[in-house]
C-alpha cells in the first residue's frame, strides 16, 4: 500500500481525526477547563511540522540526519535577528528566513550527502553543532541567553494579526495542513518515488539512470525549508529564540518523534510529536527527574515498537 490518503485505510481516518482534534482544540480545551492545553497543542503542531520534514529525508529517503533541529534554529533566528534590527514585516522576514534555510540546506546537503550511513549521522550532527556554537558566540544576538522577539511578524492586514492568540493558532494549523498535503503530494510523485527507491537500493536506482544524488539533495533542501518554517512559527509563537532550540538533543527528540509515531508514514510524525509532548508534560508533573523514566521508555520503544504508534494501530495494513 502506498502511504497516502486512501479513504479506506485506517491511517487516513487517523489523519482526519488528529486534524479535527487540532482544529477544535482552542474551543475544546477551555470548555474542559484546561486552557493551558491550547498552548501545548500549538507547540505540538509546530513540532509536528518539523518532524514531518525530517520524515521526508529519514523515513522516506533513509537519510538519518542527526542535525535537523539546526533548521528550526536558523528559521527562528532569521526572524529574531530581523526583528532586532526593526524589520517586522512578514512579507520580507519570512521569505528571507526560508531563503537562508534553503541556502544552508543546500550547503549542508552538498557536504553531508557525499557520505553514507554512520558518517552521514555524524556529519549532520557536527554541521548542526557548528551553527549552534555560532549562535552561542553571537554576543550581539544574546549568546546563550537567547533573543527576545518583542513584536510578532506583521502582515500589514488589520484583521490578520499574529499577536491575536487565535489567529496565531490557526496560522500554525494551516501550515500543518499544508505540510501534510505537500508531503502527501511529494512522496507519491515521481520525485518522491525516486527518493524512496534510493533508500531501498541506491545503486539500482543509479543503474536505472537516476542521478540520485541530485534527488536526495533536493529532498534535503525541501526538508530543511519545511523545518525552517516550523522555526519561523516557533519564534513567532514563543516570541523568543535561543541556541537551545537547535542544540543536538532537539535533533534527537525530532528523530524520536518520527520513530515513535511511525517512520515513513504520512501521519506518523504528527502522532509521534503529540505522544512525545503530552507524555513529557505528564512526566514533568510527576517528577523533575522525568528523564529517568523517559530515557528507558525511549529505549523500549526502539527495542519493541519499531513501527511506532501508527504501526501498532494498523497492524495488518502493511506499510508501503
Amino acid at each position: 500500500m502506498i502511504a497516502g490518503i486512501n479513504m479506506k485505510s485506517a491511517t487516513s481516518w487517523m489523519t482526519l481525526g488528529v486534524l479535527v482534534m487540532f482544529a477544535v482544540m482552542p474551543f475544546l480545551a477551555p470548555a474542559l477547563g484546561e486552557p493551558f492545553y491550547v498552548k501545548v497543542f500549538a507547540r505540538v503542531m509546530i513540532w509536528s511540522i518539523a518532524a514531518i520534514s525530517l520524515n521526508l529525508i529519514m523515513g522516506y529517503g533513509g537519510m538519518i540526519s542527526f542535525g535537523h533541529a539546526v533548521f528550526l534554529g536558523i528559521g527562528g533566528y532569521s526572524i529574531g535577528i530581523a526583528s532586532t534590527h526593526g524589520l517586522d514585516n512578514a512579507w520580507i522576514q519570512w521569505p528571507l528566513a526560508i531563503g537562508v534555510c534553503a541556502v544552508v540546506g543546500l550547503i549542508f546537503g552538498f557536504i553531508s550527502l557525499r557520505t553514507r550511513g554512520v558518517y552521514f549521522i555524524m556529519i549532520t550532527l557536527a554541521l548542526a553543532q557548528m551553527i549552534f556554537f555560532l549562535s552561542v558566540s553571537a554576543e550581539q544576538y544574546g549568546s546563550d541567553d537567547g533573543l527576545n522577539i518583542w513584536q510578532r511578524s506583521e502582515f500589514g492586514v488589520a484583521w490578520f494579526d499574529l499577536e491575536n492568540a487565535l489567529t496565531m493558532y490557526y496560522v500554525i494549523f494551516a501550515f500543518l495542513v499544508a505540510a501534510l498535503f505537500a508531503m502527501w503530494r511529494i512522496v507519491n510523485s515521481r520525485f518522491g518515488l525516486v527518493v524512496r527507491g534510493s533508500r531501498s537500493n541506491d545503486l539500482r536506482m543509479q543503474a536505472v539512470g537516476f542521478p540520485t544524488y541530485r534527488y536526495r539533495l533536493t529532498a534535503f533542501v525541501i526538508a530543511g525549508v519545511m523545518c525552517g518554517i516550523a522555526g519561523i512559527l516557533q519564534a513567532n509563537f514563543e516570541k523568543f529564540v535561543s541556541p537551545d532550540m537547535m542544540n543536538w538533543p532537539v535533533s534527537g527528540e525530532l528523530i524520536f518523534m518520527v520513530v515513535l509515531g511511525g517512520m515513513g508514514t504520512l501521519i506518523g510524525p504528527v502522532v509521534g510529536a503529540l505522544v512525545f509532548l503530552l507524555l513529557s508534560e505528564i512526566l514533568k508533573d510527576i517528577t523533575e527527574h522525568w528523564h529517568i523514566i523517559f530515557g528507558p521508555f525511549l529505549v523500549l520503544v526502539v527495542l519493541f515498537a519499531r513501527g511506532g504508534v501508527v504501526g501498532l494501530l494498523t497492524t495488518g495494513v502493511s506499510r508501503e
Binding site: 538519518i64 558518517y119 555524524m122 555560532l134 553571537a138 524520536f256 530515557g295 520503544v301 526502539v302
Partner: protein
C-alpha cells in the same frame, strides 16, 4: 603576540587533543569492532569524572581517585554493555542512535539524583598544583604536563595492546571480519565486552583528568562527545592511528584558533570586525576542517583496511 604565549597555547591545544584522543579511541574501537554508534560514550566520560571525584574526596587523594576509578568504570562499562547495548549490535544505526540517546537522558537524570545538580569540585594534590619553568621563561602548569604525559602513555599502551598482543590481534580480527573470526573460534561476545570495557575506562579517564580544569557537572560529556565524533570521522572510523592524529589536529586547531584567530583576522579586517568575527569563526574551525577533509576524502584520513 609573544613566543611564550604561542608555546603555551600550543601545549594547551596538544593537551585538549590528548583528551579528545582518549574519548575518540574508545568510540572508534567500539564502532570499528562492534559496528555500533554509541552516544552514551559521553555519559561514560561524565560517570568516570564523578566516580573519580567521589573517590578522590573519600580517600583524600587524587591519585587513589584515579586508581579506584579504573575498576569501577570497567565494571560499569561491562554492566551497561551486558544489559542495554548487547541487544543493539544487530540493529541498524538509527536504533543505536536513538537507544543510546535514551541512555544519555537516563544517565544524566540518574547522576543528577545521586550527586545533585551543582556538580563536584576535584581537589588537586599539591605536587600537581605548581608550575614549572620549561625554558626561555615559559611557565606551564605541572598538571597539564601530567595530562599530556598520561595521554601519550595511554596512546602508546593502546598501540602496543592492539598491534603486539594476542587480544589486540583478536580485536583486529574481529574488526576486519567478525563472522570469520567467530568461525575460527574467537569468543566474539566476550571480545565485545572487553572492548567496551576498555572504551569505558578510557572515556572515564578522559573525564577525570579533565575534571580539575573544568569541574565535574551533569552533561559534561556531551560537548566532548560531539568533538570526538568529528575526530573519528576525520581520522577514519575504526582507526586508532587516525583517531590520534585527528584528535591532536582538532585540539591544536581549536585552541590555537580561539587564541590567535582574531589577531590573524586583524590583517584582513578592521579591529571591530575582527573582534566579533574571531570568536564566531574559531568555534567553527574544526567543523570547517571536517567538512573540507570529507569533501576530498569521504572515508576520513586513515580508513581502516579490509572494510
Amino acid at each position: 603576540m609573544d613566543v611564550s604565549l604561542v608555546v603555551e597555547q600550543f601545549l594547551n591545544g596538544f593537551q585538549l587533543g590528548i583528551i579528545l584522543f582518549l574519548m575518540a579511541a574508545g568510540l572508534t574501537l567500539v564502532f570499528g569492532i562492534l559496528d555500533m554508534v554509541n552516544l552514551a560514550h559521553g555519559s561514560l566520560y561524565m560517570i568516570g569524572a564523578f566516580y573519580g571525584a567521589t573517590f578522590a574526596v573519600w580517600t583524600d587523594s587524587f591519585i587513589l581517585g584515579v586508581v579506584l576509578m579504573v575498576p569501577a568504570m570497567l565494571v560499569t562499562g561491562i554492566v551497561i554493555e551486558r544489559i542495554a547495548l548487547r541487544t543493539l549490535y544487530a540493529r541498524d544505526h538509527l536504533d543505536q542512535v536513538l537507544a543510546t540517546f535514551g541512555l544519555i537522558l537516563f544517565f544524566n537524570a540518574l547522576t543528577r539524583i545521586i550527586w545533585g545538580p551543582e556538580g563536584v569540585v576535584v581537589p588537586l594534590p599539591d605536587f600537581l598544583n605548581g608550575s614549572v619553568d620549561l625554558a626561555f621563561g615559559i611557565v606551564y602548569p605541572v598538571f597539564r604536563i601530567t595530562i599530556i604525559g598520561v595521554g601519550l602513555a595511554v596512546a602508546l599502551g593502546l598501540w602496543l595492546l592492539v598491534s603486539h598482543t594476542r587480544i589486540g590481534m583478536l580485536i583486529r580480527a574481529g574488526a576486519s571480519n567478525r563472522t570469520m573470526a567467530g568461525a575460527l573460534g574467537v569468543n566474539i561476545p566476550m571480545l565485545f565486552t572487553i572492548v567496551f570495557g576498555i572504551g569505558a575506562v578510557l572515556a572515564g579517564l578522559a573525564g577525570l583528568i579533565f575534571a580539575p580544569i573544568q569541574t565535574v557537572f551533569v552533561g559534561m560529556g556531551e560537548d566532548v562527545l560531539i568533538i570526538a565524533f568529528v575526530v573519528i570521522v576525520i581520522g577514519g572510523i575504526g582507526s586508532i592511528r587516525g583517531a590520534f592524529i585527528a584528535a591532536i589536529l582538532a585540539g591544536l586547531i581549536d585552541t590555537m584558533g580561539r587564541s590567535f584567530l582574531d589577531v590573524l583576522l586583524l590583517v584582513f579586517l578592521s579591529p571591530n570586525a575582527a573582534e566579533s568575527a574571531g570568536p564566531a569563526l574559531s568555534s567553527m574551525l574544526i567543523y570547517i576542517l571536517m567538512a573540507a577533509i570529507l569533501f576530498f576524502r569521504p572515508q576520513g584520513l586513515f580508513p581502516p583496511k579490509g572494510r
